[in-house]
């Protein structure tokens, strides 16, 4: 189990690396990848019982990324966990590459093909239900965007998750308050969110989605026996790069050479500070 310090360092490295691959490909969903890095970090390094060696084990925990557009964050985390060499990402979005702009099962470590929003939660409900039917004991997690919550399929699945008392199911909402057009509250308001999930029969906890310890505590165990868990992660889109934070245009913005250099320098400085601080 990595220490808090090791985990914090990983988040910075993931951010720097995913920007590098987005820059290299000339395409990617930058803002939403940066907002969910800490969540994926905690999931893959502390919570999920899955590794390249156990990926075909039917009892492995499942992670389904419903907000598939933030695939670059998933790619760098899976590469770090040894599912494939990170250098594979040199082909990201290229001709005949399996590393397309959304998750597909052609890539080692990926459970479900996503990219059309509003599919992850129903898939996770089915997965968690299978675990219950077989008494297999594994957990199912899904990561949903806050704008994505406007898709009605989420709420159909929310009913089903509570109906089947899937306490092995966890939905994490990446609440960065932005979607493509602007603020989610202006585009299609879904607040009060916590109350909605509670009313649908879920156990709910709101956490700072960049606080690794808080995320760990929220995800370690199901929140409540007999109920699915909803973790509302309050995040910042573009987190970790000063000029990308909370700026809508970085949803699928690709940094220019100068912007990329500036972003990398900021992250390198943070890495140096963290490493120096530990010594």
């Amino acid at each position: 189990m990595p220490t808090d310090h090791e985990l914090a360092l990983k988040s910075l490295l993931y951010r720097r690396n995913l920007l590098r691959w987005i820059k290299h490909a000339g395409a990617g969903h930058t803002g939403g990848s940066l907002s969910c890095v800490d969540i994926l970090n905690v999931l893959y390094n502390r919570i999920l019982r899955v590794s390249p060696a156990t990926f075909s084990d039917p009892r492995r925990d499942r992670y389904i990324q419903s907000k598939g557009h933030s695939v670059e964050a998933l790619y760098v985390v899976l590469a770090d966990r040894g599912f494939f060499p990170e250098s594979d990402l040199a082909t990201l979005c290229g001709y005949q590459s399996h590393y397309v702009g959304h998750p597909t099962r052609h890539v080692a470590g990926i459970e479900q093909n996503t990219g059309a929003l509003g599919h992850g939660l129903p898939l996770a409900v089915g997965t968690a239900l299978a675990s219950k039917l077989d008494d297999a004991g594994f957990r199912a997690f899904t990561l949903v965007g806050d704008g994505e919550l406007a898709e009605g399929s989420n709420w159909e699945a929310a009913l089903a998750g509570a109906h089947y008392q899937l306490d092995n199911l966890t939905a994490i909402i990446d609440c960065n308050t932005l979607q493509i057009t602007g603020r989610t509250r202006d585009v299609m308001n879904h607040e009060p969110l916590s109350e909605k999930w509670s009313a649908f029969g879920w156990a709910v906890r709101t956490v700072d989605g960049h606080d690794l310890a808080a995320l760990t505590a929220a995800l370690e165990q199901p929140l409540e026996a007999g109920k699915p868990s909803c973790i509302i992660a309050r995040t910042t889109k573009g987190k970790g790069v000063s000029f990308m934070e909370d700026v809508g245009k970085w949803h699928h913005g690709v940094p220019s050479d100068a912007e990329h250099a500036k972003a990398s320098a900021e992250l390198d400085a943070a890495i140096a500070q963290l490493v120096g601080g530990a010594a």
Binding site: Y95, G101, E148, E151, I180
Partner: protein, 329 residues
Amino acid sequence: MYSPAAKAVAEKLGLQTGRANLEEFADTLLALAQANRNVLAVTSDSRGSGKLGPFGHALPKQIVEVGIAEQNLVGIAAGLGSCGKKVFAVSPACFLTARSLEQIKNDLCYSDHPVTLVGISAGVSYGALGTTHHSLHDFAVLRAINNITIVAPADNFEAREAVRVCAGHDKPVYLRFGKAPLYTLPAADTAPFTLGKARELRAGHDVAFLASGETVIHALLAATHLAETAGLQCRVVSVPFVKPLDHAAVLAAARECRAVITVEEHLVNGGLGEAVAGLIAQAGIATRFKIVALPDEYTVTGSQAEIFRHYGLTMEGLSATAQGLLDRN
């Protein structure tokens, strides 16, 4: 998108580069909406992708945002349409025609409301984003539904005219656009744009290319290339209306030309090609025939241009297909 050889042919033809059909659409719609306050744009977090930013600023009361909810989009559009609004519902073609299919079938087509569905970034415009973002099924699923017109404009002229036709048509329409800048095709003055009619862009009696949407240009380049390199005179027909299909133009091509090739940015199943094939076969015409489209397989990944090249939807690919078809015994 074009090889150097294809670019050279386009230059020789004197074709001007236009802009993306999407931009033509957005400007035309804005002009229509300024003249008629019943014209509404309805979007699903797709205002930017639909180039409707200026529309939203100019006419904030005539744009309705529904959030990332395509089923809701079509239902709401149908409700607005039922109350006398002239609605353009704008969303990526892949989601609009897959996720919302039941709303399209029941709320729009069956109930018969005057809504134009605008499928943006259609076909493989979102090439490298993968299959979730491709719409290679839209002609097929919508052809199987009664009471909807399917239009895929080939250039800015057809796009502009198509928006006007939709605005004046009190029935469900599906309008399909890509997002790449396009060449402006010839014959804007000689071949008018009329509901249900195909447009002959080039005369000929060897091979007839019947093409839809953004593949038409590649057929025109191939026909020109075949004339120069093989002395073949090929007919090029733009078929913006996949439904209703222009029977007279299709049957004339099948009767008057030595071979027929259909071209579309769609899966081979259920699109323009099969519509043309069914028509020709039922008219009792036996001819050499080939559907050029994406095969029924896991679509190769890459940009739209790379995918077109991979599957032969280019001047070079179509020229080779035409020659192969004529050489066949």
